[in-house]
């Protein structure tokens, strides 16, 4: 019996040791989160189960859907996008704006708007938000917003409620730039009071309907109602974005009323949710096109005929109908209907035509060499399933494509003989071809740059005329001239020098309780302000 107690004693000693290492490392007790008291008060606590949360909420610091989703509730831009009315630009923190010339814009600010720290928002805050101290933060060296706002000069404060912002060059998109993600206004005083950039990034103070209570990295982000919100008292007392990585667990939690809304639902789960009483799915395509990129500088894919054949071998509608149950769309070239006047409706993309594809393959002199297709395992929705279908479709026309699973972007972009095909998603950052075709394939895109630092080399070497058309799109204000340039660019990358296969619009589906009256926008941001959230 003595030996038995020794055995038990050894076990206790070992576990106690491991336990104490952990506690010592933790420096104290585990923090506990109180379970949300659902619907207990006049205003409910809203719980959203998400796949992932961002580690920081500084709007300019990240460029991701998971970040934009939450930033939307904390900070706001000068101009709002009315997602319920064809994405029209409407007054936000600015009540009005006017162009002074082709590169200057004047904003009149809304009076009485309070930051979450109680201070009033003024032109000083706007100027600081787009000023070098934040945009070109020297300590950090990089904010994502530089990519979109790097072309503006430091704003000028005219009076307490008027500010003038000037672009370094004529800019057709100036208004749209200030309506976008990363153009949110922050409190100058709170920024300067923060100990450092890292502390600020987790304690952002904006004007949005909810303020940050706590960011527990990898676990949850809790926001609380900002009752002095200029747009009225927010409908939820708190909003918690809770990380639940597994989709099955998110759906189960929705069914058991633990969550009010769940995000990132794959298309094959939609019908199951819709069949369940009390919950349903919302959402659909977002302004993002999923593409398969060709590396045309690679000798294997140099021949445009072979690339045309690869496009024509794919039945994209079939993929949308089967994998997505018809709940997304096949794009008509590298453009979106959201572009409004700039959408080239009569543009015809290369059709699905396997016989023609076979002819083109023969003409290209392709001899059955292996074409390597690099993918990340389900980085994009149904990425693996889609890739397998594509490979089978290519096989039918005589192309030998091999899927290669990679772990990260470094491995996807590594420039060697096997970089032939890989997947990308392309957000239309503005509802204009500049936000998609110029951003992604223009001369400043990473796909066009040789970048020794990133281990990346250009994927494309374009004719100069392509960039000339791009310049017209960026600077011209004449609709006809711009449409003409857009059409030529679409033609160039689809027919003359095919760069990619435009598979389908990317989707964003949510599940929600039927008593939560909330509209999902065709964007990553989730709007829980009084205009878009109420409870039955």
């Amino acid at each position: 019996m003595r030996s038995l107690s020794k055995l038990f004693g050894t076990f206790i000693l070992m576990t106690a040791l491991v336990f104490s290492i952990g506690l010592a490392a933790a420096g104290g007790k585990a923090e506990k989160t109180a379970a949300p008291a659902k619907k207990a008060l006049t205003r409910p606590d809203l719980v959203i189960a998400v796949q992932k949360i961002p580690p920081v909420l500084e709007p300019m610091r990240e460029n991701s859907n998971v970040h934009e989703r939450i930033v939307y509730s904390v900070t706001e831009p000068l101009i709002f996008i009315d997602y319920k009315h064809n994405q029209k630009l409407i007054p936000g923190l600015a009540v009005s704006w006017k162009r002074l010339d082709d590169r200057t814009i004047e904003f009149k600010l809304r009076k009485g708007v309070k930051f979450q720290n109680g201070d009033e928002m003024t032109a000083e805050d706007v100027a600081f938000s787009f000023g070098p101290e934040r945009l070109f933060n020297k300590k950090r060296g990089w904010t994502f917003a530089q990519m979109y706002l790097g072309g503006i000069e430091p704003p000028k404060v005219v009076d307490r409620y008027t500010v003038i912002i000037k672009s370094k060059q004529p800019d057709f998109l100036l208004e749209k730039r200030f309506a976008n993600y990363m153009s949110e206004i922050i409190s100058k005083k709170a920024f300067l009071a923060a100990k450092d950039w890292e502390t600020w990034s987790r304690n952002v103070v904006g004007t949005g309907p909810y303020k940050i209570v706590k960011i527990k990295t990898g676990d949850y982000i809790k926001l609380a109602s900002f009752d002095d919100y200029w747009g009225g008292k927010p409908p939820a007392r708190t909003v918690t974005f809770k990380v639940v990585p597994e989709v099955a667990a998110r759906i189960a939690g929705l069914k058991t009323d633990e969550y009010d809304i769940i995000t990132d639902i794959p298309p094959d789960q939609l019908a199951g949710i819709d069949k369940t009483e009390g919950i349903s799915t919302v959402g659909g395509p977002i302004p993002n096109i999923r593409t398969v990129q060709f590396d045309e500088t690679n000798s294997l894919l140099k021949d445009p005929d072979l690339r045309r054949a690869m496009i024509m071998a794919i039945n994209r509608q079939l993929i949308v109908d089967t994998l997505y149950h018809g709940r997304t769309t096949v794009p008509n070239g590298f453009q979106m209907k959201l572009f409004g006047d700039m959408y080239i409706a009569d543009f015809k993309s290369l059709p699905y035509d396997p016989e023609k594809a076979k002819e083109l393959i023969k003409k290209s002199g392709y001899k059955g060499e292996t074409i390597h297709y690099r993918i990340l395992p389900d980085y994009y929705t149904l990425e693996v399933a889609t890739a397998q279908i594509l490979v089978e479709m290519w096989k039918k026309v005589g192309l030998n494509v091999k899927i290669e699973m990679k772990e990260n972007w470094s491995q996807i972009l590594k420039n060697d003989k096997t970089r032939n095909l890989f997947n990308v998603s392309n957000t239309a950052f503005y509802n204009d071809p500049v936000g998609l075709i110029v951003r992604r394939l223009g001369p400043r895109s990473w796909m066009r740059l040789k970048n020794k630092y990133g281990g990346k080399d250009a994927l494309y070497v374009f004719d100069k005329k392509f960039d000339k058309w791009g310049k017209i799109l960026e600077t011209s204000t004449d609709l006809k001239t711009r449409r003409d340039a857009a059409r030529k660019m679409l033609n160039y990358i689809e027919y003359e020098n095919p760069t990619q296969i435009n598979l389908h619009a990317l989707t964003m589906f949510y599940g929600k309780r039927d008593d939560v009256l909330w509209t999902a926008y065709p964007a990553a941001g989730m709007d829980f302000s009084p205009t878009n959230l109420s409870f039955k």
Partner: protein, 311 residues
Amino acid sequence: MSIQFIIRKIFRALLTIWIIVTFIFIALRISGDSALLIYGPDVSAKALATLRKAWGLDKPIWQQYLIYISNIFHGDLGKSYLDGRNAIKVVAERVPKTLSLMWVTAVITLLIGIPAGIYSALHHNTKRDRITMTLAVMGLSIPNFFLGVLLILLFSVSLRLLPSAGSETWKHYIMPVITMSTAEAAVFARFTRSAMLEVLNQPYIRTAIAKGVPWKKVVLEHALPNAAISIVTMAGFFIGSLIVGGVITENVFAWPGVGRLLVNSVANRDLAVVQTIVLLISLSMVTANLIVDLAYGWLDPRVRDLRSEES
């Protein structure tokens, strides 16, 4: 047990930790670029260069390594690239959650696994043995992600008895513990059974029975202590791996533990965080095994005598 023996064991343990940490340090750096992974392909060349400089990744790998080792001795394991916080803080806030789950899992596992193995061995080749071992094989064969989801469907969705995910109350522990203990207890049951059977066939057991020692006494005082060495070895590995033992379970039940942090940090090449976790894992693994080593001598006088002779 001589001091020399303990020093030798500690030296070996430190050597093991150093090899693991060095291997991870090099492997992480040659298999992905942190700046590119965190900020994506859209990031500019200038930004990449700035970030690499800020993170010290522009230096040759041997220089980075020397700095890293030197910083370890100063208690500085670096900062997370994702949110700029101290890596120790980032890891430490996850450790209690993991340990609280693993501690319960370990106790349940051992309380079920070891007695089941003993029971099976004592009823060797009977229906009871076969039933116990069939259950053990089943437990071992069901993948964690499958069992986890199955439990959620049963206890959360159908019966509405337990919360489906999270870690706030005692109820949140039930399903993750069942999920992890099922497979682990099965391993212990099979292992204990084999160890016990081997011991029960030894001549000294036959002698004890022939002498008329009661069966209960034979099992508890002769067989079990002798089978203990193997079980303690297994327990060493098991307890050492507890810190990241439940990556899949943590994912299924949204448990904010170290396992999930490790997966996320590796994917983003958040080097300082990965290295801190690896250091913690190797430290706990090596420490647990060191204790097992030392416990051998305590449990088995023959080992103790042999070590005394060696030293």
